[in-house]
C-alpha cells in the first residue's frame, strides 16, 4: 500500500536547486500595536529536503508555519521579510491563488487535529473532498483513493474509519486522517507541526518511514516541528532551534543536535535526555550516560 499516486518516475520534476519554500528574515507581529513575536526566521527548502524546527514552547514555531501557509490569526501579520512558495512571493497572492496552492503545492498537519476537521461530516468524505477538488477525481475514484490513503497511514479497518465522525476516533487516528488528507494532493512541501505526537511510537515509526519514502520517491520537502528531538534527529538533515521568537542555532542535524554551539540548544538536549528512554533501559546506556 502506498501514499503515492501512480505517478510514473519520468514525470517527476527534474532535480533542481530552486527552493520550493523559502523564508527570508520573516518577522511576525501585530501591525497595530507594533508588538513583534517572531524576530526574523530564514530557511530554504529544496525538493527532498527535510528541515526540523525545535525549541521553546511559545517561541513562534507554529506562527512561522502559519505564516508560510498564509493563515496567521487575524490580529497578526508578516511585518517584514519575505516568503516564497515555488518561486511566488506570497504577499502578492490573492485568495484564489492561495486556494490553488494550498493542498497541492504546500500542505500542513497541525498540533490539534480535531480543530481542522468538520465535526459534523464523516472523516473519509473530508479526505475524498480534497481529492475531488485538488485532483479532479470523480466521486467513486475519490472514495477509493481516500480509503487507500487511510490504509497507507496504517489505520486498521480503513473502510469503517471512512464513515466515522471525528468524535468517534482517537487522537492518533485523527492525526493520521489529517496526514492522509495533507498528502492526498501530492504536495511538494508538507509542514508537519507536531504531526506525530499523538501517535504511539510504533505507528509514529511507520509514519516517519512513510514520509521518508515520499521524500525519496516524489521529492517531497518537509518542515518538521517537534518537541521530540529524537524524531528530528531521525528525519531531518538540518535543524533550526528557536527561542523567544528568534532562531538561536541553525545548521546540519549532526552538528546542532550532537555538537551544539549555543547554550540554549545544549540545555534543550540535556533536558530532553533527562527523560530519555535510554536512561531507564538497562544495557542500552551509552558512555555519556555513565558520567552523569
Amino acid at each position: 500500500m502506498t501514499l503515492l499516486s501512480e505517478k510514473p518516475a519520468a514525470v517527476r520534476p527534474a532535480p533542481t536547486v530552486d527552493p520550493v519554500l523559502s523564508l527570508r528574515d520573516v518577522r511576525i507581529g501585530n501591525p497595530h500595536t507594533g508588538a513583534e513575536i517572531v524576530h526574523g526566521v530564514s530557511l530554504e527548502l529544496t525538493p527532498g529536503k527535510v528541515v526540523g524546527v525545535v525549541g521553546e514552547s511559545g517561541s513562534g514555531k507554529t506562527l512561522t508555519c502559519r505564516a508560510a501557509l498564509g493563515i496567521l490569526p487575524a490580529n497578526l501579520a508578516v511585518t517584514s521579510g519575505s516568503i516564497e512558495i515555488a518561486g511566488a512571493d506570497i504577499s502578492t497572492l490573492g485568495s484564489r491563488e492561495w486556494t490553488a496552492l494550498r493542498g497541492s503545492t504546500i500542505s500542513a498537519v497541525f498540533q490539534d487535529p480535531a480543530s481542522y476537521l468538520n465535526p459534523s461530516i464523516q472523516v473519509g468524505p473530508q479526505v475524498a473532498e480534497v481529492l475531488r477538488v485538488k485532483k479532479g477525481l470523480k466521486r467513486r475514484e475519490a472514495r477509493h483513493r481516500a480509503i487507500e490513503l487511510l490504509q497507507a497511514v496504517h489505520l486498521r479497518q480503513p473502510e469503517l474509519v471512512y464513515s466515522q465522525y471525528p468524535h468517534e476516533l482517537s487522537g492518533g487516528m485523527l492525526q493520521r486522517i489529517l496526514i492522509a488528507a495533507a498528502c492526498a494532493a501530492d504536495p511538494q512541501v508538507l509542514i508537519a507541526d507536531e504531526a506525530t505526537t499523538a501517535l504511539d511510537v510504533t505507528v509514529q515509526a511507520e509514519i516517519l518511514d512513510l514520509l521518508a519514502d515520499l521524500r525519496d520517491s516524489t521529492g517531497l520537502a518537509l518542515v518538521v516541528v517537534s518537541h521530540d528531538l529524537a524524531v528530528v534527529a531521525q528525519l531531518c538533515e538540518e535543524v533550526l532551534v528557536m527561542r523567544d521568537g528568534a532562531v538561536v542555532e541553525h545548521g546540519p542535524t549532526s552538528q546542532v543536535l550532537y555538537r551544539p554551539e549555543h547554550d540554549y540548544t545544549r540545555l534543550l538536549i540535556d533536558e530532553h535526555e533527562q527523560y530519555g528512554l535510554h536512561r531507564f533501559v538497562k544495557g542500552k546506556n551509552v558512555p555519556e550516560e555513565q558520567a552523569s
Binding site: 525549541g55 527523560y275 536512561r279
Partner: protein, 274 residues
C-alpha cells in the same frame, strides 16, 4: 499501602448503537493507590482515553465496576457523575488541550471556575490560580487571554494547572506532556512527582515512554481494548512480556541508542498477527 483511590474491575465499554456498536474496552482491571502513579501506554486507538473517560463518567460502562475513593460509582447517573466531578475529587486533563479549556473563557476564568464551584471566594481563587500558573511556569500575563491566543504548550500547561487547583485525590492525565518542549516537560513531570508525596493517585497516559518510565511506579499496557501487561515500571520497560510491548519499547526513537530497524519492527509486528 492504603486502600486504592481508584479501583477498576472487569470494565467493559462499548461505543455506538446497533450496527455501529463496537467494544472499546474489554475486561479491564486496574487499581491505583494513594501516592501511586500508574503509567498507561498502548497503541493509538487501543482505548486509553476511553478508560480515562469512563473513570470520569464521560462515557458509560457496559460492564464491570469503578470505585473512586471508596465510592462505588459504577451505577451512577449523569447527575451523580456531574456532582462527583464538581466536587473536584477527580480531575482530568484531556488529550486535546483545546477541549480541556473552554475556548470562550479567559485563562483566569478557566482556572478560577472549579474553585468557585467548591465555594472558595473569588479573591482566594484568583490568588490560587496565580500560584498554580506560576507552578507550571506560566506568566500571569496569560490570565486575560483566551486559549486561541496562546501556544499549544501554554494551553497544555494551563490545563495541568487547572487540574491541580482543586487539590483532587485522583488525577487522570491524558498526554499532558506531548505538546511541551523538554524544559516544560521536565517541569511538569517534576510537579507530578511532588504531588505523589501529597497522596494523590495519578493515571498518566502517554506515548512518550521516557516520561512514563521516569514517573510511573507501575505501567499498564493496553492493546486493542485489553490490558495485556501490568507491572513495575522498570520490569515492563526492560523485560516486556507481550509482543506489543516489545514492539513499542523497541520502536521508541532515542538520541543516544539505536531503536529497532524497519525490518526488526516488521518482524515484531508479524508476531502480533499470529
Amino acid at each position: 499501602m492504603t486502600a486504592p483511590v481508584l479501583q477498576v474491575s472487569d470494565l467493559d465499554v462499548h461505543y455506538g448503537l446497533r450496527r455501529r456498536r463496537r467494544q472499546a474496552l474489554q475486561g479491564v482491571s486496574l487499581d491505583v493507590s494513594a501516592g501511586e502513579t500508574v503509567g498507561l501506554i498502548g497503541e493509538t486507538g487501543s482505548g486509553k482515553s476511553t478508560l480515562a473517560r469512563a473513570v470520569l463518567g464521560l462515557v458509560p460502562s457496559s460492564g464491570g465496576r469503578i470505585v473512586i475513593d471508596g465510592e462505588d460509582v459504577s451505577g451512577y447517573r449523569e447527575r451523580q457523575w456531574r456532582r462527583l466531578r464538581r466536587r473536584g475529587v477527580v480531575q482530568y486533563v484531556f488529550q486535546d488541550p483545546l477541549r480541556s479549556l473552554d475556548p470562550d473563557l479567559t485563562i483566569e476564568d478557566s482556572l478560577v471556575e472549579p474553585l468557585l464551584i467548591q465555594g472558595v471566594s473569588r479573591r482566594e481563587a484568583v490568588a490560587r490560580a496565580r500560584t498554580f500558573l506560576d507552578r507550571v511556569h506560566l506568566s500571569a500575563d496569560l490570565l486575560p487571554k483566551v486559549p486561541g491566543e496562546i501556544s499549544g504548550g501554554q494551553r497544555q500547561r494551563v490545563a495541568v494547572a487547572r487540574a491541580l487547583v482543586t487539590e483532587p485525590r485522583l488525577i487522570v492525565l491524558d498526554e499532558p506532556v506531548s505538546a511541551l518542549d523538554s524544559a516544560n516537560r521536565v517541569q511538569v513531570l517534576e510537579i507530578l512527582k511532588e504531588l505523589r508525596g501529597s497522596g494523590v493517585a495519578l493515571v498518566f497516559i502517554s506515548h512518550d515512554l521516557g516520561s512514563v518510565a521516569g514517573i510511573a511506579d507501575r505501567i499498564a499496557v493496553l492493546y486493542q481494548g485489553e490490558l495485556v501487561e501490568v507491572g513495575a515500571a522498570a520490569a515492563v520497560i526492560n523485560e516486556p512480556d507481550h509482543p506489543y510491548t516489545r514492539l513499542l519499547v523497541s520502536s521508541a526513537p532515542t538520541l543516544r541508542a539505536a531503536s529497532a530497524t524497519r525490518a526488526e519492527r516488521e518482524e515484531l509486528r508479524a508476531l502480533l498477527s499470529v
